[in-house]
Structure formats: structure tokens, C-alpha cells
């Protein structure tokens, strides 16, 4: 059996930041101590842990990471200009190795909206942060949340007062720099959406170079009654990156939350994605797309929790796996005893481009109500031979024909991206990623 490790390293990290933390309010310091205690007693999960069966953390646990916040790194606007997903024709908030970069950030100023780094929100919006930080992401359940709580140095804070409707998306860039030693970053984000709000959020985790990095972000989102949130989470870190992310959403009455989680980079990626529907009439949607090659591994562990009646949830995850890549999809649907008239639909669909690529996909329905509609389906397959022949019979060469079909497979999810320039960048990324590399520009302009 694999033994959890790494407590010593992270305890040392915790000690190293005590000086910096001494300025923080006492409630935050005790939250951190509890987090450290929790992580120290559990350590990293092992394969014996049911929730982690398909994702080994051995290598992660054994890598001697340095806490990124202790590094001196500099970043200029030029470093960002050529980086995919770093510019989206809208204002952005930039973090480098977990530290806020005010000179590279341009904050949208709209009445009713607060956008800042979490560190200053602890000072300026103390009550909101105190009430909500750590309220949705569960420390006991996930050691990565406790590790993040103990060690996080910064992140973004967004607050929308009730009735605030934003036309411009909010774009957050978390960049991990290239360095010669392995570095880890624990980013902590909090989003508070009041009642009757509308917001599009684009959260990007990007990397440069080939560095071994470990990113451990936790994002908590509280969506008020009758609000609409579209949340895009893009991960395109270094090919040697470990990324273990947590996204926890709490939804009020008649609220709509639609998340789209896209994993492009990284070596080992695990996303813990949860929505809790706690008010009637809510809709929770989590969609995902992963494009994997080489030995990349992506594990999406999703939980949709229906706590009250009359809510809908939708999930569509698609994977395209080349070479020896592996993917995992787990879809937990929890329907509480009183959550009658729940309508839940889950689909996991995977395209394997080689016979060495692997996918584990597993629905997990825990239904305690008796008047619900829950459907789930999973497919794992190769490209459709009939469609391939059809394209080739019209003169399109084999590799290009494959490219067209792969693109078509993914485009269903791109079609759901409401932030236009993000949709375009994703399409362009995919066209370049395709094994064929022969696609003309036209496929994503169609």
C-alpha cells in the first residue's frame, strides 16, 4: 500500500511563513492552524482511499517543493502578451506564483462590484471574508483544502452586491513562473455573488517553461438567489506540473451556475468540483473538456448535491486522449431525502486516439428521494469509421479527416463559451493541438 507522505515538508513551509502571518487577524490564524493540524494528521490520500483510486500522489508527495511565495520573481507585461489565455479583451487580475501583481492588473470599477486580492479583502472586507472563507470547501474531506488553508498566501476576492449585472467578464490569471527548482503555490479565492446578479468569470492557471510545479488552488463561490454565474476554469500549466484544484459552489434559490473546466496542460491534474443546490429552482451545470497526450493524467471528481426539491443539474465531460494519456471521470450525484423533483443528467464521453490511452469513468448516484429523474451515460471510443470514410471519400486526407472529427467532438463544449475571445482562443488551441496539424483556419471560423 502506498504511504501518504509529505507532512514534514509542508509543516516546514508552515513554520517558514509564521512571521508573515503574524499580521493576520486571529480568526484567520486559527483557521490556518486547524488546516495544518488536519493535513498533518491525514497527509496526502493514498490509492486505498476510494476517492483517489485512480490517481497516485506518490510522485507529488515525494517531490521536495519550495514554497513559491518565498521566491523573487519578476514578471512584465511582455511575458504575458504572448501567453495563451492571458489576454481576453477585458480587464484582468494577475497573480505570479500566488502573489498579486497590481502593476499588471486592471480592475473593473463598477458600482456594487469589489474585485481585489484576498489579502487586502481580509483587511477591507473583513466581515464577508471571515463569514465565508472556508465555509464551503471541506477541510475534513479533502486534505488539499486543509493544506491550502494553512499555506495560502493570496488569491482573488470578488463580491457582487445584489442586483449587480456585469457585461464585461472578470478574468483572473494565475501564472507559475519558470524556475530551476520545484515550486508549489496554494492559491485561495473567494467569490460572493449577491441576489439577482450576473457575472462571467474566467479563471486561468497558466505556466511557462518545463518546470516541476505544484498548484493547489481552492475557489469558493457563493451564488445568491436568482443570480447567474458562468465560470470558465482553464488550466494550461507546464507539462511537468501537478495541479490539484478545488472548486466549491453553494447555490441559492433560482440561481444558475454553469462551470466549464478545461484541462490542457499539466502532468497530473485532479479537480474536485462540487455544487450544492441549497435553494429551490436552481440549476447547477459542470462541463469539462480535457485534451491529453504523452503521459498526462487528468482526474475530474465531481459532486452535484441536491439538498432541496425542484433543482436541475447537468454534466457533460469530454476527453480526447492521445499517446499514453489517462483520464478519470467520477460523477457523484447526491439527492437528499427531501429533494423531490430533482432532474439530473450526466454524460461522460471520451475519444481515445491510441490503444494505449486509458479512461476510467464512473457515475455514482446516491439517491434518497423517490420522485426524481437522474440519467447518466458514458462512452469511450475511437473515431467513427463511417464518418472517417465519408470525409476521405470526398478527398480529405486521413490525418485531416481525423482532425476534423476530433474538432467536431470538442466543439460542442466550445459552443457553450459565452466569452467570445476565450472561445476563439480555445478553438485555435485545439486546432494547433490536433495530431494532424493540417487543418485550415476555416474549421474554427465556420
Amino acid at each position: 500500500m502506498e504511504l501518504p507522505q509529505g507532512q514534514d515538508l509542508y509543516s516546514a513551509h508552515f513554520k517558514s511563513i509564521q512571521g508573515a502571518l503574524s499580521q493576520e487577524p486571529s480568526w484567520l490564524r486559527s483557521l490556518r492552524s486547524a488546516g495544518m493540524e488536519c493535513f498533518s494528521s491525514h497527509g496526502f490520500p493514498s490509492l486505498a482511499d476510494e476517492a483517489w483510486r485512480f490517481t497516485s500522489l506518490r510522485e507529488l508527495a515525494q517531490t521536495p517543493f519550495e514554497l513559491a511565495g518565498n521566491l523573487n520573481s519578476e514578471l512584465g507585461a511582455n511575458d504575458l502578451s504572448g501567453l495563451q489565455f492571458a489576454s481576453l479583451n477585458c480587464r484582468r487580475l494577475v497573480f505570479l506564483n500566488g502573489s498579486y501583481q497590481p502593476e499588471l492588473s486592471d480592475i473593473l470599477e463598477v458600482p456594487g462590484l469589489t474585485v481585489s486580492n484576498l489579502k487586502s479583502a481580509v483587511v477591507h472586507s473583513s466581515e464577508a471574508v471571515k463569514t465565508n472563507l472556508g465555509r464551503y470547501a471541506d477541510q475534513q474531506e479533502n486534505p488539499f483544502v486543509s493544506l491550502n488553508t494553512a499555506l495560502s498566501q493570496d488569491g482573488f476576492f470578488i463580491n457582487l452586491d445584489s442586483g449587480t449585472r456585469l457585461e464585461e467578464p472578470i478574468h483572473i490569471v494565475h501564472l507559475t513562473s519558470d524556475s530551476s527548482t520545484p515550486i508549489c503555490t496554494h492559491v485561495r479565492n473567494l467569490v460572493m455573488v449577491g441576489d439577482g446578479c450576473e457575472v462571467d468569470l474566467v479563471e486561468c492557471y497558466l505556466g511557462v517553461g518545463q518546470n516541476i510545479t505544484f498548484t493547489n488552488p481552492v475557489t469558493e463561490i457563493c451564488v445568491g438567489n436568482n443570480s447567474q454565474v458562468n465560470h470558465y476554469r482553464i488550466q494550461n500549466e507546464s507539462p511537468n506540473a501537478f495541479h490539484v484544484g478545488v472548486n466549491d459552489v453553494q447555490q441559492g434559490r433560482d440561481s444558475h451556475y454553469r462551470g466549464l473546466v478545461i484541462d490542457l496542460g499539466g502532468k497530473l491534474v485532479r479537480n474536485n468540483l462540487r455544487c450544492v443546490l441549497s435553494g429551490e429552482g436552481g440549476l447547477a451545470g459542470i462541463d469539462g473538456l480535457y485534451l491529453l497526450r504523452d503521459h498526462q493524467h487528468v482526474d475530474n471528481y465531481t459532486t452535484l448535491e441536491h439538498a432541496v426539491p425542484h433543482c436541475d443539474s447537468r454534466e457533460l465531460f469530454k476527453g480526447i486522449l492521445d499517446d499514453r494519456a489517462s483520464g478519470v471521470f467520477r460523477g457523484r450525484i447526491i439527492v437528499h431525502k427531501d429533494a423531490q423533483k430533482t432532474d439530473s443528467k450526466q454524460t461522460s464521453s471520451n475519444l481515445l486516439l491510441t490503444d494505449r490511452a486509458r479512461v476510467n469513468t464512473k457515475p455514482q448516484l446516491e439517491i434518497y428521494a423517490d420522485d426524481v429523474k437522474c440519467t447518466h451515460g458514458a462512452t469511450i471510443g475511437q473515431l467513427d469509421a463511417n464518418a472517417l470514410f465519408y470525409l476521405r471519400s470526398r478527398g480529405i486526407p486521413l490525418q485531416a479527416a481525423k482532425g476534423i472529427l476530433i474538432f467536431a467532438f470538442a466543439s460542442e463544449l466550445f459552443g457553450r463559451v459565452k466569452v467570445q475571445s476565450l472561445g476563439q482562443q480555445l478553438s485555435r488551441y485545439l486546432a494547433a493541438w490536433l495530431p494532424s496539424g493540417q487543418l485550415t483556419e476555416g474549421i474554427y471560423q465556420q
Partner: protein, 256 residues
């Protein structure tokens, strides 16, 4: 144009074509008829290069090149086109993109320059007028949610765009109502030319009321057992295919 000699093909160890011979000259329209299971569609698919069929013997010469040595896309480049019996739906790819990719692939194969967006649209307008069909199908994903008639019209439209030397219509008439059949036949007739040969594979004589072939061949058990003028189709319609089994001699014939 096309010369098939002693063609044998099987699918999963089941022989389907058993020594088929056929010659089609430039500009000619031939019809291949036959009962279910006689090998009509297999012939069409083998000519187009479908790899689920294994060719076990014979030769196919297409304008001097050995067709059986070519990949499906190369056959298209050489000027062969098959209208599918069951056109494939491809969600997520617009018909316009698909057609332009196909046209440019074929042009590249032939050493011609790719067409730009403006020229492509001009060509689309020209062909939609020629075939008297609307442009509405172009904006939709390839064949997705198309009616049977729309799918077949789309096949003929692709044929018009790609301007093949030899078009094989694989049961293009099956399942069409009379109005759709007329639209499709008028399209095919508009594309008849002295440089373009057409093979119409069909189960029913009905289509041949609208597209009059030069020759009619009857396929049975993987061979052409009878060839004749267009009137042969009427005779078949009247007497049924069983009439042939009775008079069929086992010796292979070369149909011309």
C-alpha cells in the same frame, strides 16, 4: 473510363463479388440493378475504397490508374465520387466548411490552387442555381438532422461541387418520395456531360424513368448476369428478379 475485370471481394469471409466484369466509357450512364444481397452496394463501396470489404482478386482500371491501389481520398482526387446510400451525419462540422475542405483537398491533389472564400461562395451560388436547390443546407452541420431527401440532395450537391469524372450513385433513390426523387434526378441530369460517366446502383426501376441510362446491367450473386438497353429495366420491373435466376447461366459475362 472504368474497366473492372474479374473482381472478387468479401466481407468477413463471406464472398460477395465473385468475378464481376464491367466497362463504362466516358460520358456513359450505366445502371446496375439487382435483388438485395446481389452485391450492388458492395461494388459501389469497393470502388470508393471502403476498407471493410476485402478485395480478393481482379483489377479495376480507372483512366489508366489501378484504382484498387489508391486510398479513398486519392480515388476522389482522381475524379471518383460515390453518393452514399446512407450519408453520414457529422455534428459540429458545418456543411460549408466540409465542402470547402473537400474541394481544396481534391484541388491540391490535382495540383490546382486552393479556392479562397470568395471564389468558393461564387461556385456555391453557381451550383445551387444549376441544381435548383436552396443554400439553407450549407449553414447546417453535415447531414445532421437532415431529412432523407435533404441528405440525398446534399450528396448531389457535393457531386456538383467536386465535378467528378465518374460518379457512382449508391441507391440514391431508396426511401425518397416522388418529389425528392425528381429533384435528385434533375440534379443528376444537369450534371451529365460527355466527360462524366455515371453508375446508378438501384433496386428499383423508378429512378430510371427520370435518369435514362445508356446501359442496364443485372447483378446476381456477385456477377453481372445480364446486360441490355434501358428497356431491360422495365422488363425486370415487370417480371421481378426471380425471372433471371431461372434463365441465369453460371458463366460470367463481360458487360459493356
Amino acid at each position: 473510363m472504368l474497366e473492372i475485370k474479374d473482381l472478387h471481394a468479401k466481407v468477413e469471409d463471406q464472398p460477395i463479388l465473385r468475378g464481376l466484369n464491367l466497362k463504362v466509357g466516358a460520358g456513359e450512364v450505366h445502371s446496375i440493378m439487382g435483388p438485395n444481397g446481389s452485391g450492388k452496394s458492395t461494388l459501389a463501396q469497393v470502388l470508393a475504397g471502403r476498407d471493410t470489404y476485402e478485395v480478393t482478386g481482379g483489377k479495376v482500371d480507372f483512366n489508366g490508374s489501378n484504382l484498387l491501389d489508391l486510398d479513398p481520398e486519392e480515388r476522389a482526387g482522381e475524379g471518383l465520387f460515390m453518393a452514399f446510400q446512407y450519408p453520414v451525419e457529422i455534428p459540429g462540422v458545418s456543411n460549408t466548411y466540409f465542402l470547402r475542405a473537400a474541394l481544396n483537398a481534391v484541388r491540391t491533389y490535382r495540383g490546382e490552387e486552393e479556392v479562397d472564400a470568395a471564389d468558393f461562395l461564387d461556385l456555391v451560388s453557381e451550383k445551387t442555381e444549376l441544381l435548383n436547390i436552396g443554400k439553407d443546407l450549407l449553414r447546417r452541420p453535415v447531414n445532421e438532422g437532415f431529412s432523407g431527401g435533404e441528405k440525398k440532395r446534399n450528396e448531389i450537391f457535393q457531386m456538383a461541387m467536386l465535378e467528378p469524372k465518374l460518379a457512382i450513385l449508391d441507391e440514391t433513390d431508396s426511401g425518397l418520395d416522388i418529389d425528392a426523387l425528381k429533384v435528385v434526378s434533375e440534379g443528376v441530369n444537369a450534371l451529365r456531360s460527355p466527360e462524366r460517366s455515371i453508375i446508378i446502383v438501384t433496386h428499383y426501376q423508378r429512378l430510371l424513368d427520370y435518369i435514362v441510362p445508356d446501359r442496364v446491367h443485372v447483378l446476381s450473386k456477385g456477377r453481372i448476369v445480364k446486360s441490355g438497353p434501358p428497356e431491360l429495366a422495365l422488363e425486370l420491373e415487370e417480371k421481378g428478379y426471380s425471372w433471371l435466376d431461372a434463365e441465369n447461366s453460371a458463366s460470367p459475362t463481360t458487360a459493356e
